[in-house]
């Protein structure tokens, strides 16, 4: 049951990853791209969690946690860049 679910969900996530990439490439504006990148981060968190479930190992959750935290930091920094140009002032 679980393995079937994992296959279905990871297929969906892969599709959304590709769509994220397309959005990032197409733009048209910088905020679109930033949002696309952030969603890409979130989707890869999902992918890693799924992989952890599949392997039955807790190690992957930490990677996911770190991606979540660091993804937030980098998105925030990029947004600050758009806003003020200088991220640490």
């Amino acid at each position: 049951m679980l393995s079937t679910t994992i296959i279905i969900v990871s297929t969906l996530i892969c599709i959304s990853l590709i769509m994220n990439l397309l959005r990032l490439l197409r733009g048209p504006d910088l905020p679109d791209r930033i949002l696309a990148l952030d969603t890409l981060y979130i989707n890869s968190i999902g992918l890693i969690l799924l992989f952890g479930l599949y392997k039955g190992s807790a190690l992957y959750f930490e990677s996911a946690l770190l991606i979540a935290m660091l993804g937030f930091v980098s998105t925030a920094a990029i947004c600050k860049y758009l806003l003020r140009g200088d991220i640490i002032e």
């Binding site: 490439l25 990677s63 946690l65 770190l66 002032e89």
Partner: protein
């Protein structure tokens, strides 16, 4: 006493003059002389056994792994040179006490002088060729310092530079020669080299070895065509000239010839090169000495000529010639050092060294004049003086050699010519200076020097007389022992008597004396003849040669290093292709035998994302912000890939590095134009495209071929030993802090240094700041958005908790100091982003430089700690403990080391990022309404 003390005591003695300088000049001189005197006593205590034929040896391990040791040996040759170096050295110390003026720094002078003494002793006592070479270079350096002692004089600086360049280049040749000898013999030990005569002579390298060694010796001993530096080195203070340029340093080349005489001589090549060089130098030096108006210039050329004479003797194919060479080394050192000292006294007391002005000094300083005249007569080869004896031996040897076949008669004839000029310039020294009318406008009225300034000259002149009258008693044993060391065998019988009956050498001496008188008497004709030649200053020639070499190097450097990074990258990649593609041509099958993993949809998606992200980065590389975003995709996918293929440590590291890098890039991007101008021409783009495709293809194929083959790596070893040896189950971390802990220590040191360097570079930097974004819109007024600030503050404790957790479990599970440090830094950077530098400065009282320092210190101390336990540096220690409530836990010294890594990483990251951020804290330009 051990032989090692002989050079070691003067080496310690280099500090003595610096320390005693304030105690007055006399005290400084006495204190300086103390340690060399002790060395001399050690040598003298060994002298009886050496004179009876023993060779003393002593060695200390230096770098045992490289088969290097500090090895010293004392044989007859070493004894002779040590006595010259220490004996004349002590006299020069006494002499310099009175020679130097109160304005000169006596401590510095003595310090250099003793350093030079150490170096010379090291050369003559070395039993290891590499060690000999090190001391050899040390003489070049210390003599550079001594020649340029009066560094405010231009000619002193130039003379010193010239001497250093010539002797330094010779030193390089010598090193090459020594390395070749070591290659042939298989050892650098002098004992073994001296025992491998046949091996060296018959190896194909012999010509190269000979030429290289001779280059070293000839440059040092000022042999033609490298003689030109010696006259210019006369810009040195006279004690230096007396010591270095007559008695010791220039004899180092001769010493080298004598030392390797048993190994290198005995072939036609040796005889031809050495004897012809010696003969040319002998004649050239003797001829030009006559025309020098400067007292020291005359003595310098005369030294060149006498060095040529010794070289010629060593280049002759008889054993007696080698004995004569050794004898002349002694005699020349005594009479030439005393002549230089006398010239120094004359210069000191009359203010000039120009022989056109110095006349009739006999009236003013009869005592010094007598001494100088005796020494000069010895130089001319007048009977009853030591110079006569060795010259007589020289003449007799020129008659017995057959180097030039049927033309060998030329050698004695030319030798007599050299003798004639030698008499002529000695006469000029005596007659021009002490007689020949009255002095012509000298700066001072000449008078006798202080009592003790004459003492060294008296001692040396007394030696000239003693050796000259009673050679057998005074010098016989030493000469015999030194000669047998040169010949490495039995010394042929020779007679040191003054009177050998009416024979050809005596006739040659007589011809030389009479011819010299005649030439001096008719000197005006010769001077007129010589005046026809345009004066050519070796200094100018040398200087222009140096300039053109430097210009050539610069030209080459500009060709290779034109500042274009694309170009460097291209060259590097081309080389990579050349190196990797060639072996791959011979690889018949690309796919190996290893079973391949199935490719699932998720992996393929990841690969597609990776490829497209990389492509997009390349395509949009001129739009910097977008390129940064697409680059982030690559970073993310790489991290996920690491996680997917069971490398969680790498995944965590890659993720945190990724974020820090992006923040760093954005900080820098603010100051840069948002779009890069188009820099590559279509041609270059085609070239780069082809090159990168080729490199990608080659490396990709290489990876594929490698991954599809079964192979064993060293990871098996780490997996097996990580728990037992390092006390941790996380192999990656154990490698970092234990197996390769020393590497890590080096890396964090580099990290710390880089951070400090960046800090220093940007500390006071003020840069142009754009007033609006790339479309010209003004920046938002909201400096610290509220939501961001609140969320970031919430994030901080959580992030710190994660980092502590990752740090603590790092030894057994994925994590460790490096990742934890990066996470902490990112968390703090987030506060900087959300609240600004000023806010953090008030709340976080952390000095990042101090943090780097303490991190490095902790890591270093942990490493040193294992010394206390008697283990090698950075051996880790671990044990298990039990505490109530917590339970069992493990403590390892590696954790302390990891703490050092953690602190250094935080310090370095924050120092760089926060300071880059600080660049803009100052008020920035605001777009006015009109500009919008």
């Amino acid at each position: 006493m051990n032989l090692i003390w002989v050079p070691l005591l003067p080496l310690l003695g280099t500090l003595v003059p610096l320390l005693t300088e304030r105690g007055g000049r006399t005290l400084c001189a006495w204190a300086t002389a103390l340690l060399p005197a002790l060395s001399l006593m050690i040598i003298l205590s060994h002298a009886p056994s050496v004179l009876s034929g023993a060779t003393l040896k002593s060695a200390l391990p230096w770098i045992p792994a490289l088969d290097l040791e500090l090895a010293f040996r004392l044989d007859g040759l070493g004894l002779l040179f040590s006595l010259l170096i220490l004996g004349i050295g002590l006299l020069v110390i006494l002499y310099a006490r009175y020679y130097l003026s109160p304005k000169d720094s006596m401590g510095r002078f003595y310090c250099y002088l003793i350093l030079f003494m150490t170096a010379m002793l090291g050369i003559v006592l070395s039993n290891n060729l590499i060690q000999l070479w090190v001391f050899w270079e040390l003489t070049s350096i210390s003599s550079f310092l001594l020649i340029s002692f009066w560094s405010d004089k231009r000619e002193a600086r130039r003379g010193a530079r010239m001497a250093l360049t010539v002797t330094g280049a010779g030193g390089m040749a010598l090193l090459a020669g020594i390395l070749l000898i070591g290659n042939v013999v298989g050892s650098y030990s002098l004992d073994q080299v001296l025992a491998s005569t046949i091996q060296i002579r018959e190896s194909g390298y012999y010509p190269a070895i000979l030429v290289l060694m001779l280059l070293g010796a000839f440059t040092k001993s000022a042999q033609f065509p490298f003689h030109f530096w010696l006259p210019h080195a006369m810009a040195a203070p006279t004690p230096v000239s007396a010591y270095l340029h007559s008695a010791t340093m220039v004899k180092a080349g001769i010493f080298l010839l004598a030392r390797f005489y048993p190994v290198l001589s005995g072939t036609d090549m040796w005889f031809l090169i050495v004897s012809l060089t010696g003969l040319t130098t002998l004649l050239l030096g003797a001829y030009f000495a006559l025309f020098k108006h400067d007292l020291k210039g005359l003595l310098a050329y005369s030294t060149i000529s006498h060095l040529g004479l010794i070289t010629l003797l060593l280049g002759m194919d008889t054993k007696l010639a080698a004995v004569a060479a050794v004898f002349h080394i002694i005699n020349h050192a005594t009479f030439k050092a005393s002549l230089f000292m006398a010239a120094g006294i004359i210069d000191h007391e009359s203010g000039s060294r120009d022989m056109r002005k110095l006349n009739g000094l006999w009236k003013y300083m009869p005592y010094t004049a007598t001494l100088a005249m005796v020494a000069a007569s010895s130089m001319a080869g007048v009977p009853l003086l030591n110079g006569f004896l060795s010259k007589e031996m020289f003449f007799s040897e020129t008659l017995h050699q057959s180097t030039l076949g049927s033309l060998s008669w030329i050698v004695p004839v030319l030798a007599t010519c050299g003798g004639v000029f030698s008499v002529a310039y000695s006469l000029r020294f005596i007659h021009d200076v002490f007689f020949n009318g009255e002095p012509i406008d000298l700066p001072r009225t000449p008078h006798e020097p202080p009592r003790y300034m004459k003492l060294p000259v008296e001692i040396l002149v007394a030696l000239c007389l003693l050796v000259g009258i009673l050679p057998g008693y005074v010098i016989g044993d030493l000469l015999n022992s030194a000669s047998s060391a040169v010949l490495q065998g039995l010394v042929p019988s020779y007679s040191l008597a003054i009177w050998h009956g009416l024979n050809l050498p005596l006739a040659m001496s007589t011809v030389a004396l009479i011819g010299g008188l005649l030439i001096y008497y008719n000197r005006r004709v010769l001077f007129q003849f010589q005046a026809q030649f345009p004066e050519k200053d070796a200094k100018e020639v040398f200087e222009s040669l140096m300039q053109s070499i430097i210009a050539g190097c610069r030209w080459l450097n500009e060709r290779l290093e034109n500042g274009s990074l694309q170009r460097y990258l291209m060259l590097m990649l081309l080389l990579t292709i050349a190196l990797t593609a060639a072996p791959m041509m011979s690889l018949n099958q690309t796919t190996g035998s290893r079973p391949q993993l199935p490719a699932d949809g998720v992996t393929i998606t990841g690969a597609a994302l990776l490829i497209l992200g990389a492509l997009a980065t390349v395509i949009w590389h001129r739009k910097r912000m977008i390129a940064l975003l697409t680059l982030s995709i690559v970073g993310l996918i790489v991290s996920v890939t690491f996680a997917r293929f069971s490398a969680p440590d790498l995944a965590l590291t890659q993720l945190s590095v990724e974020v820090v890098t992006i923040i760093l890039l954005m900080l820098a991007l603010f100051f840069l134009p948002q779009r890069t101008p188009k820099e590559s021409s279509p041609h270059q783009m085609m070239r780069d495209l082809a090159l990168s495709a080729a490199v990608g293809g080659v490396v990709g194929t290489l990876c594929y071929a490698l991954m599809t083959r079964p192979f064993h790596s060293i990871s098996e070893f780490f997996l097996a030993n990580s728990k037992t040896g390092g006390g941790g189950t996380n192999v990656v971390n154990v490698i970092l802090v234990d197996f390769r802990g020393f590497d890590t220590l080096g890396e964090i040191t580099v990290l710390g240094i880089a951070a400090l360097g960046i800090f220093k570079l940007i500390n006071r930097m003020r840069l142009f700041m754009p007033a609006g974004d790339e479309r010209g819109r003004p920046w938002s007024d909201d400096r610290y958005p509220m939501i961001l600030a609140v969320v970031s503050q919430l994030l901080l404790p959580l992030a710190l908790l994660v980092s502590v957790y990752i740090f603590l479990r790092g030894h057994n599970m994925p994590g460790g100091g490096f990742i934890a440090g990066l996470i902490t830094s990112v968390a703090i950077i987030q506060q900087y982003v959300a609240h600004g530098v000023d806010f953090i400065k008030d709340r976080l009282k952390l000095n990042y430089q101090w943090l780097i320092g303490s991190g490095l210190l902790i890591a270093m101390m942990t490493g040193l700690g294992s010394w206390v336990a008697g283990r090698p540096f950075l051996t880790s220690w671990f044990d298990h403990f039990h505490l109530p409530l917590i339970g069992d836990f493990e403590l390892a010294s590696a954790m302390l080391f990891d703490l050092g890594v953690y602190l250094t990483v935080i310090g370095a990251t924050l120092l760089i990022l926060a300071n880059l951020g600080k660049l803009t804290t100052a008020e920035r330009p605001v777009l006015t309404k009109e500009e919008l």
